[in-house]
Symmetry: C2
Subunit: 596 residues, 2 copies
């Protein structure tokens, strides 16, 4: 059964308690978002997620989207849910007040995102893609385009898409063929086919605004000749109502492994009118503005699905009676004990729990940096926050989505045979989680971004935004009588990370394939240390709260247990990653392609 | 695209070259199976897999099975394929000649199984379940039952099932409720509902023979009161033709994550006539005869799907053009290089390759032990082989299926976005592979079997059947100038395994929860060392063959590369598992159930 209650207590811990000393300080620009207001937003978001979106998650998976005569229908209930969502102002949450948004801090917004994807990731893509399009348009669009499109996109009256991929090119967008021919009036005519377009066509909004990568006739080859265009499904009339159709048609909707409530379309543009966003041939830059924000959000998809899978597994593990506890019967009046008594079931539940809490904690830190990058008054803080965001974006995207998938799989394993059956609802989490490891840049691409771009940038400056707080924390807390052992575990893992970094820097300088060969393991290693650091911090906060006589000792004691479990059982993965990195590219690259 | 060519060269390497010195010696009882005959069988099996079964794998997934008016239909083409399969004698391959089987050694049979599951795992379950039923019947059935049912089951004219699970009990079969009431004529009347019955109903055979676990009215409670019954779908006439219907009906077919070509049924028995197999209340023993054989076969499912996924990924990685090699353009006349040039793609392909070759090698060793257990003349050899099989059965089942799933996932990742689309065929491998981690005893149950039963049995005797050859090999080969480094890697991993074993033995003696808490990590650890041992042996064979001027140096050089990759990149996982084991049960068991 799909069970989900937003983990509000832990979210508030992350929002208010865990990162108070993260060095980004208070942000006066966000002063209006008081803790009370933040809590109220989180509480309301939880209601929407649980009451409006969750009930449509499983039915949406079963029913899927349909395409008939060029019209795409979303699953039953999605339209009504979207209307409620939009009317409640949830589409506009994170957008700029200037365009009708609520300007919510990212440190709060990412938590609401987590709830929404946990409840219904397919649904989340409709407003999610709009938000991505909004971001790109806001940063790079002309005033005229912004005035015309942003208010309706921000409100959710219209939705947006990102049209990048073509059948023959995804990662290597330099190969793309969609053409944009300039017209006398300053507009362009676009012709070409795009695939994998999330929310490319649907029945939720009156218009759909496509952001399309295309190539002008005079464009230089490769990625340096790609421009970004805004192409509406319907050309808006001057009063803003949708006007004539614009030559955008749906070739097919993709038959996907999961995410079936989300309409993923093949779109054909035939002489469709579009307007340039940003400078000619600078489309990749505009796209990356959007992409970087989206990558953190895709990471949050991993976390959200992981949380829903965890809760569904906990529910089952308490409900399902099989066998007796090794430590003696726990349910003497029943025919058997609930399976939560069994150590191997505990191992799975605690693993899921630790990944979720760890990713949530790390995401909280990265979100605070997103806010500081935007709003900090001190340029040094602003720069440090930006560095940290640049460094952590690929880590959050890749590691959270890998872990979300692992967590969803553990839920199926807790259910046993019942988990393999659609009715259980948990195999859906596996199928839904799988795509997040691929889209917005595969996790391999994230790893290359981290190792190839982020590590060497500015002589390793990005990395210092992470290494300094970690080494400072270790130095300060190592001697703690109670928690010193955790800190020592962190220190050891951090040592491995430092060594791995030095190895990659040294070898990769001489041979970029060496860095690339280490990329995925290094990303995991960095993620593990970052999560470990968050757990170590959380343990100190929890310990101090208990000592100070907190009224919620249960929450803090559980946090201490989960932190210990992470250090006991999951952080040892550091040595596997480190060992693989040390080995270098030799055996990985030795076979000739024809020997495979 | 689903690409599969049976890896015959590697299979013959495993069958003839790798395990020649495994200490089980030649088995005169199997002398008729000369290397030439074995090769001929493998070559023919490859044709059947590739030509008859593979073309139905993807279409079977798309179409699935249907239930209409109590009749189950398998996907288009399955019936014709089954007839060809049966007529070719493939159903009878591993069965005893006494009943019309061909008595193929398991060391060959497991390789043919690998091919069949690689080509079409859904199809494989129909003959596969029959083979399981045959095994149980052969070992525990009365002569009359054997005479009546075995010839037709062995030939594949009829098929078999295993009816264990009920809605409320899977792992804990002691809870089952299906009742068997004795009749005056020595038969029984069975009433109850079973779920998850593979091949429970279908249109491939004239009759279906169900092996059903049920409880007699006077049965003691729990697992000690379960008996095994043979319940045919149609009661056979005296001439062997199917006679009257026997009250077995299909309640539903399950909607599963994958394996959609396989009809998984809910079966209802209503006063169905059955006959006891084995002694009253000893049904679990009879069932475990079958279960243990089947567990190795389920492990082979992981391997087979892993191989198909690997080959499909290699095909795509050579075909798909994206980006340019970091070491310089490799395909100058094309728009981009094939993605196989990229280190992170290599990492995935080599990982898949190493898991597959490693599991195949280990399976070859276990299969030789299965043969020696059955046919060795020397009682010492027979005992040692039986010990090794007992030890390795849970490892093969759990580790191979975990790795098969990981491998299938890597294939999707190599395909990127295209891998998430049904048409690619690779997401099917993920869905199909997922069940193998669950059925025939979840992988957690395998781990408990290993740690709770197999390790302590006879004062650790089973383990010695593995530890002795490994330590002997290390002592003998450690100083090798060329490959000594591999052996040192193995020695280190083996040392961790020995320490982990001692830790579990010590802690587990005082507290069985400690052993259970370590079980899954220990199983992985043992699997890694066993695969490492096989790779180390393979490296020596390959090195010596090249030195001796083999006509196939390419094959052996590739084997050396894959072995090195395993030691470089995968064996380091040992330290993660070892670290987790050392931590003990503390943080895993600390939370109260209500704190989840």
């Amino acid at each position: 059964m799909q069970v989900y209650q937003a983990p509000l207590r832990d979210m508030k811990f992350v929002a208010h308690e865990l990162h108070a000393d993260d060095g980004f300080g208070d942000l006066p620009a966000l002063a209006e978002f008081t803790p009370d207001l933040i809590d109220a937003v989180l509480d309301e978001a939880a209601k929407v997620a649980q009451e409006v979106l969750l009930p449509l998650n499983h039915s949406g998976d079963i029913e899927g989207c349909t395409l008939e005569n060029g019209v795409v229908r979303t699953p039953k209930g999605f339209k009504q849910a979207y209307d409620r969502f939009r009317e409640g102002g949830w589409c506009a949450l994170a957008s700029a007040p200037e365009w009708g948004g609520q300007g919510l801090p990212e440190s709060v917004n990412k938590l609401t995102e987590e709830m929404i994807v946990a409840a219904n990731v397919s649904f989340s893509l409709y407003p999610g893609l709009t938000h991505g399009a909004t971001t790109a348009l806001e940063s790079h669009g002309s005033d005229a385009l912004k005035q015309r499109y942003l208010p309706r996109l921000v409100s959710g009256e219209w939705s947006g898409t990102m049209c990048l991929t073509e059948a023959h090119c995804g990662t290597d967008l330099g190969l793309l063929r969609t053409r944009a021919v300039p017209q006398a009036d300053g507009s362009y005519r676009l012709t070409g086919g795009k695939i994998f377009i999330s929310a490319g066509e649907h029945d939720l909004t009156a218009n759909i605004i496509h952001l399309v990568l295309a190539r002008m006739p005079d464009a230089p080859p490769g990625v340096k000749g790609i421009s970004l265009f805004l192409v509406p499904k319907f050309l808006p009339n001057d009063d803003g109502t949708p006007g004539p159709s614009n030559g955008v048609s749906v070739g097919a909707i993709e038959h996907k492994m999961g995410l079936k409530g989300s309409a993923t379309c093949q779109l054909n543009f035939e002489d469709s009118t579009g307007w340039l966003i940003g400078a000619p041939h600078k489309g990749m830059e505009a796209m990356f503005t959007m992409m970087n924000t989206e990558r953190v959000s895709v990471g949050v998809q991993g976390l959200g699905i992981g949380e829903a899978a965890y809760q569904s597994a906990v529910w089952y593990a308490k409900e399902r009676l099989q066998g007796r506890a090794l430590s003696g019967t726990k349910n003497p009046t029943g025919p058997a004990d609930p399976i939560i008594v069994h150590p191997d079931v505990r191992r799975m539940l605690m693993t899921m729990r630790a990944w979720n809490e760890g990713c949530r904690a790390l995401c909280g830190w990265v979100s605070r940096a997103l806010d500081a990058e935007k709003h900090a008054a001190d340029p040094e803080v602003k720069q440090r926050a930006a560095d940290f965001v640049a460094l952590m974006t690929p880590v959050v995207k890749a590691v959270f989505t890998d872990l979300g998938f692992e967590t969803a799989n553990l839920a199926v394993q807790v259910y046993g045979g019942h988990g393999y059956i659609a009715e259980s609802g948990v195999e859906q989490y596996v199928r839904d989680a799988r795509i997040a490891m691929i889209y917005e840049g595969t996790n391999g691409i994230q790893a290359l971004d981290l190792v190839g771009r982020k590590l060497p940038a500015h002589m390793g400056r990005y990395l210092r935004s992470f290494f300094h707080p970690v080494s400072g924390f270790i130095a300060e807390r190592k001697g703690d009588a109670e928690l010193g052992k955790l800190v020592e575990g962190l220190e050891k893992a951090f040592g491995a990370l430092q060594l791995a970094t030095a190895t990659i820097a040294e070898k990769g300088m001489a041979d970029p394939e060496e860095a690339a060969a280490a990329a995925t393991d290094y990303t995991r290693l960095l993620g593990l240390v970052a999560i470990g650091f968050c757990f170590a911090k959380a343990a100190f906060v929890a310990r101090d709260r208990i000592a100070a006589g907190s009224a919620e000792p249960g929450f803090y004691r559980a946090k201490l247990v989960t932190a210990r479990f992470f250090f006991d059982r999951l952080l040892p993965q550091v040595s596997a990653a480190f060992g693989a990195i040390k080995a270098g590219k030799g055996s990985m690259m030795a076979l000739a392609a024809e020997d495979f």
